[in-house]
Symmetry: C2
Subunit: 110 residues, 2 copies
DNA sequence: TGATAAGTCAACCATATGGGTGAATATTGA
DNA sequence: TCAATATTCACCCATATGGTTGACTTATCA
């Protein structure tokens, strides 16, 4: 998987309210089991399990299995990719603006 | 539409490669027409038009119509919401970690 | 005025997504 | 050993998504 697909996965995973809530819960509570996470939502355990899988595939959550219990933990590092993308956009934007400025200034010279 | 839905829209809009490319083009080139944008992609004008609509509904793009031409421009401000969300997550994370640290230190006391 | 150009709208298609249920698997504990 | 627990897997369903084509509207300009 290339960087672009990875970024798409992260953004798509983060683009769902339930999944963002799961992430928030993990960030504030630390590692939690699937059932424990599911108790916060009005949807089946299975649906929550599927959301967790999406987060996991985006690298936003890691799993530690102890016996029959799966402990999920938030992994914020991948979100840096989205910040990096935004920062890149802003830098391109600034480049263009400064180029425009230079153009206007040189026109003033004439 | 509440903040959460708005954030979902932004993240979903940004979660597609084609749409991110459109945003990048607009950031580096400034306002561009739909046809001009579409020329960069191997898909129909209509498909690009639909992607633009998604970006527009997320507030990531604005439209200025002059006669039959529609000029699209990038709007980076909504992306700050995603940064704010990330920042909030990080601050919750730090809160928990410092609470943990305090706990461990007080245990050392005993 | 009439052809062409720029876009959107509407309908369609295949696949993805978010939800559900029931069965299967693996671990625990009595 | 056997029942209960934790979780995933395999389907199923409705709706969303990303793409297509064709028709429609509005401007432009020869």
């Amino acid at each position: 998987m290339n960087d672009d697909e990875r970024l798409s996965r992260i953004l798509k995973a983060a683009g769902d309210t339930t999944r963002r809530k799961i992430l928030t819960l993990l960030v504030q509570e630390g590692a939690l089991r699937v059932t424990s996470l599911a108790s916060h939502f009005e949807m089946s355990l299975n649906s929550v399990s599927k959301h967790i899988k999406v987060l996991e595939e985006a690298g936003l959550v890691t799993r530690r299995t102890l016996g029959r219990e799966h402990f999920m933990a938030a992994e914020l590092e991948p979100l840096k990719r989205t910040e990096a993308w935004f920062a890149e956009l802003k830098s391109i934007w600034d480049l263009r603006l400064s180029a425009l400025e230079t153009m206007i200034l040189s026109e003033d010279d004439q």
